[in-house]
Symmetry: D2
Subunit: 141 residues, 4 copies
């Protein structure tokens, strides 16, 4: 069956990924796709380091925000972020590969709440993200 | 007098800016520097757009986070972000030039709270950021 | 003229205050009312103290949330909170009188963002609140 | 053995509960205690309703904040809240019995991050809370 939730998620994520210049430009890769739960990874490059010589928090947020965006768009309806809160737990260094795992916590009508855990390859948590999403339209395809 | 708060801020911001590969790589420019209040601007490039064709929220957060970082480091003590909350108010499009204006709301000992307003050139608010900072060391210079 | 923003705010706040068992039961008093900006005060009672012998953070949030609610309802349209973030800055003790000053930061359509500063009588900040509001209906009167 | 984590948690929660005038005054009851994870319930009373005739969000936050406080103090070291973020998902009505289930998401040194889910008796989520805690002293006993 092509129309189950997994297929819808696969197609929605692929359709959103293709024109996503930002996520691709940062070297992100999709690790896994399920309905409401997409994981993405990214390796910290030199152009992501700040004046303290560690990864700029904005890039950790951006990775989490991408995992959030793909998770909340995985039902195939155009959805945007209304807000995001991030707790920075550990400094992240050049060359580290981070994985951001998004998942839906709650959804009703056009509103949703998602959590994203950002971890190192050894599983250490480096940031916790939570965001509120808002559907802006009916299915695009 | 070289040692007033303005001079300290000018020197601290310059010292943090020089090695900041992330902020420079995104084309950010410092607009103004005062003690506890730094403004930064950035123009949205194609590599900052997402799958909906608008600016990826992560880059709006990153701009705000840079204004936060320079504001909370402007006293010359190494300071990092513990958390950040952003409210996304308006979609931002390719080519728009945003300004993020940081300011200290509160500080005591090693802890601080800062707000950052992100606006278009016409003054329209596009995002509201608030973050908690934590000093990690004594003055570096 | 009875229909300017101040009169609308005065009437809206009075109409919302009358049946507000929670705010009244906690001994809150309205300090000032303006369009989008309502200040409320409350004195910390014994039944607001926690196991550490200081004011339970929930009551500081509740005071801030009331100032937020009256501020975002002051245009006369029924409006509820979608989210709230609070930074606790100082311990608050039994007998202290706090004032929570709400103000609108942004509004568009049914959405709004409000800030609330919570201070002691000497002006010391004890908490910073920010919340997102959502209008649920057209004017009730 | 009296010194395992469960016994420490049982004793720490009992010691913090006894003088907690706020949680007791609101009719809260402890549902379950484990290391880093305490659940508390509360029934919405008339003096918790606001001007819209529904439960004042401050009392939902206060319930969540109590579950957070007991969870983060369950290791027996005095710990306070630095911040809290709540997403209000559903209106809560007079007479409803809510359960707030806290759990540790992360801890290192004096810092911790906790999540609290607030549900109706039928399991419906009504609010999602996340907070940052800070240990203020060494073990009190």
């Amino acid at each position: 069956m092509a129309d189950d939730a997994q297929s819808v998620a696969d197609r929605a994520v692929a359709a959103l990924w293709a024109p996503d210049r930002a996520s691709q430009g940062l070297g992100m890769q999709i690790v896994s796709v399920a309905a409401g739960a997409v994981s993405i990874r990214m390796t910290i490059r030199e152009d992501m380091t700040n004046g303290h010589g560690i990864c700029h928090g904005g890039f950790i947020f951006t990775l989490a925000d991408s995992a959030f965006a793909f998770s909340c768009n995985s039902a195939g309806e155009a959805t945007v972020a209304a807000s995001g809160q991030i707790e920075f737990l550990e400094a992240v260094r050049l060359g580290e590969r981070l994985t951001a795992a998004g998942r839906m916590l709650w959804e009703r009508g056009r509103q949703g709440i998602y959590a994203v855990d950002v971890c190192r390859e050894d599983g250490t948590l480096v940031a916790l993200f939570r965001g509120r999403s808002h559907k802006i339209s009916r299915p695009a395809s």
